[in-house]
């Protein structure tokens, strides 16, 4: 097609173009599908169902605190892995709206994860309550986003899972002294502990900012 032909077709193309919001929506949709958000949403729903099933059992104090934390970590791993981009450098060069898309998508997925787990806990006794879920998921997500920016989205789950082991240990030490009391080990702190909430919030903010600006450190093709 020659340049002249394109010039001739431009008015016709303009008449069939969609409004700006529609192209924006399409951009968001493309971003979401490239990160396999539908699969991630399905996995988050599975985690919520897993929590609901776990809450049916009658656990002792260890199980009542540790099993929800493990399921929260699983949700965060799903969320974190969804930050990986299959497009790599070409997308970074061309994507002007990428920081906003990353920011929005992660906030949305975090909210969905917390909401799904909260819905899964309805009708069961969730130790620590929804506030505990919010704090743990936010903090773990922050760690996952930092890992995504530093080592890559595909393996960013390593950070939250390693922290999960430390968190389970912090809960264990509530019965086996010396107890881990640092607010940086927020899963081991009570739900209304301000220090723990601040630490989790700080990690989430740092992770979100770094990820929004730099994105996941990924190569194309994987």
């Amino acid at each position: 097609m020659s340049a002249q032909r394109v010039a001739e077709m431009r008015p016709a193309l303009a008449s069939v173009s969609h409004p700006a919001w529609a192209s924006g929506l399409r951009l968001v949709w493309l971003h979401a599908t490239s990160r396999r958000f539908p699969a991630a949403l399905g996995a988050l729903a599975a985690c919520a169902i897993g929590l609901r099933i776990a809450l049916i059992g009658h656990w002792d104090a260890y199980g009542a605190l540790q099993l929800p934390l493990i399921i929260e970590a699983a949700s965060v791993c799903v969320l974190t892995v969804s930050t990986a981009s299959p497009l790599g450098e070409p997308e970074r060069v061309a994507g002007r709206w990428l920081p906003w898309l990353r920011l929005g998508s992660v906030v949305m997925l975090t909210a969905v994860a917390v909401g799904a787990l909260a819905a899964g806990a309805v009708g069961g006794h969730l130790s620590g309550g929804i506030l505990d879920v919010l704090r743990n998921v936010a903090g773990l997500t922050g760690i996952g986003l930092l890992c995504a920016a530093l080592v890559g989205g595909g393996v960013a789950w390593i950070g939250p899972t390693a922290y999960m082991i430390a968190g389970v240990y912090a809960l264990y030490t509530q019965w086996h002294s010396p107890a881990v009391t640092t607010p940086w080990m927020w899963p081991g702190r009570p739900p209304h502990d301000l220090g723990a909430e601040l630490c989790a919030g700080l990690v989430f903010t740092c992770g979100l900012a770094l990820f929004a600006v730099r994105g996941a450190r990924d190569r194309a093709g994987e």
């Binding site: 396999r36 059992g57 199980g63 540790q66 789950w157 082991i165």
Partner: protein, 529 residues
């Protein structure tokens, strides 16, 4: 050399085929490009942060360090190993290389086994580093005994099995979510398995994180006086080996020829059978009298024989003798007992030595275990006072020498006095008073403002708090029959004060004449000097 003079090859040169060498080269390649290598720093950091310091805080006893390392290493390694193995298993699919790799000369399953082997080798290297550090430090610190190898074998088999599970998941369900979900899921199963253990006959004891009776805190006395019972370890290794074989058999199933599929199905079935048998065996376990899980079908009667050892003894009129593993505690224990032992030495019926013995264990309801001394404290001719250190009764947290000495003074000292005068809840007022007087003279607790019942001597109950945590035996009112609970306003206490005020020679003279009658309950308070 010109083209004309070059030798003409009539047939291709024979190249010697060395399949072993090519496999080794492939293994080297896989070792260099393996996710587990990059996961090792994470695994080692988790181990250092959560396990190393905690294990090193334990007394330097081989049984404690080895079983603690077993439990902690399994918990620390399961997530990184399964995660890394799942990453390696799904590598070809994630990089869209499956078709390309299928066209290579080497069979798919053989290629995958090499990748799995490389992952497992790095995982074992990581575990080996943790083990070497813990065992080297313990060898330097321990005063007696040697390393336990069965816990090491179980942990190593666990690492191999975790790697197989992760690899099979990655190969059969390749995807970006596979590795994290398998890693977290394996941890979930591990935690869940420990939640379901009830009593010593639970099938869930097959969980590789279990090193002994679950919910019983680490006990320094276990595997110190009797050999480490490896019945449960054998069942766990059998289960883990079966699981590994089944997983690797499943890996060979897809995209293979009919013959390979048939072989892999047979292998996987054999693995499942072995694992199932091991679970069945674990369900037949019982807590033996020495605090370990014995499985009748796997039990070696030799492990019921006590370990021979030469006790380490203090000097003194009545020596205090401990198992050599506890030699670091001997000076403190002997020092706090010396006042009371000096006081009673040479009296009729007084022990000729105090010797540490093994505790006996009994399974209660659920995970509750009771620990105590089999038979009376004073046994033999000439009589010996049989001693259970507080460490052997209370479990963790472990005591420093200073704390141990305090508890020995408060519980064992009065118990020695009580055994001499046959004091106890049913003893006479005079027996209470004399026991209290001797305790006072030795600087031990002899009276209380608490009017309740004395705590049973030498018995503890362990388990969940909600299922009945027994009071630990320490402080006044513990271990001295009734003397420690003597009401300070009672006539017995006044008589005890009067007797204690006598010179030591007068006390000993009176006791030498009247001790037999006192033990028989034939002396009244009024007859005490």
């Amino acid at each position: 050399m010109t083209a004309a003079s070059a030798p003409v090859l009539t047939r291709p040169a024979l190249v010697e085929r060395r399949p072993g060498l090519s496999t080794a080269r492939l293994l080297l390649l896989e070792l260099r490009h393996n996710a587990m290598l990059w996961m090792l720093p994470v695994a080692l950091a988790v181990f250092w942060f959560l396990s190393y310091r905690k294990t090193m805080d334990l007394p330097p006893l081989w049984n404690l360090r080895a079983t603690d390392l077993h439990t902690r290493a399994v918990a620390d390694l399961i997530v990184p190993v399964t995660g890394a193995a799942a990453l390696m298993g799904s590598r070809e699919a994630r990089r869209r290389m499956t078709d390309l790799m299928t066209s290579t000369a080497r069979p798919r399953w053989a290629r995958l086994l090499v990748t799995w082997a490389a992952t497992t080798i790095w995982a074992l290297v990581g575990y080996g580093a943790c083990l070497a550090v813990i065992y080297a430090v313990t060898a330097h610190q321990a005063s007696w005994g040697g390393p336990l190898w069965w816990p090491v074998v179980v942990t190593a088999a666990s690492v191999v099995a975790f790697s197989a599970v992760g690899f099979a998941a990655g190969t059969l369900l390749p995807g970006r979510l596979t590795a994290p979900l398998v890693a977290v899921g394996s941890w979930f199963v591990l935690v869940l398995s420990t939640q379901l253990i009830t009593g010593s006959q639970s099938y869930w004891q097959i969980s590789p994180v279990v090193a002994g009776p679950w919910d019983d805190t680490l006990d320094p006395g276990v595997a110190t006086f009797y050999p480490y019972v490896h019945d449960l370890s054998i069942a766990q290794v059998m289960f883990l080996a079966g699981l590994t074989v089944a997983m690797l058999g499943a890996v060979a199933w897809p995209r293979s020829s009919r013959r390979v599929r048939a072989a892999s199905a047979v292998v996987a079935a054999a693995g499942v059978l072995a694992a199932g048998t091991a679970v069945r065996l674990a369900g037949t376990g019982t807590l033996d009298a020495h605090g370990m899980i014995a499985i009748p079908a796997l039990h070696d009667a030799a492990s019921d024989l006590p370990i021979r050892f030469t006790p380490v003894c203090s000097r003194g009129s009545i020596p205090v003798c401990l198992n050599p593993a506890y030699s670091r505690s001997l000076p403190a224990v002997a020092a706090v007992l010396s006042p009371v032992l000096r006081e009673i030495a040479g009296l009729p019926g007084a022990p000729v030595r105090v010797i540490q013995v093994a505790a006996t264990y009994k399974q209660g309801t659920g995970n509750v275990i009771s620990t105590g001394l089999a038979g009376g404290a004073l046994q033999g001719e000439p009589p010996e006072f049989r001693l259970l250190l507080p460490d052997q009764q209370t479990g963790g947290p472990f005591l420093t020498n200073h704390e141990l000495a305090g508890q020995v003074r408060d519980s064992i000292g009065p118990a020695i006095v009580a055994s001499l005068v046959s004091d106890g809840p049913d003893a006479s007022e005079a027996q209470h008073a004399v026991a209290a007087a001797l305790s006072m003279d030795a600087g031990m607790p002899a009276g209380t403002d608490y009017p309740g019942q004395p705590v049973p001597r030498g018995t503890r109950v362990q388990g969940h708090q909600e299922t009945g945590q027994g009071p630990s035996c320490s402080g006044a009112g513990c271990g001295s029959g009734a003397a420690g609970n003597l009401d300070k306003s009672s006539p017995s206490y006044a008589a005890a004060r009067r007797f204690a005020a006598l010179p030591l020679a007068a006390q000993r003279s009176w006791l030498a004449q009247h001790l037999t009658a006192l033990r028989a309950g034939q002396i009244t308070l009024a007859q005490l000097p």
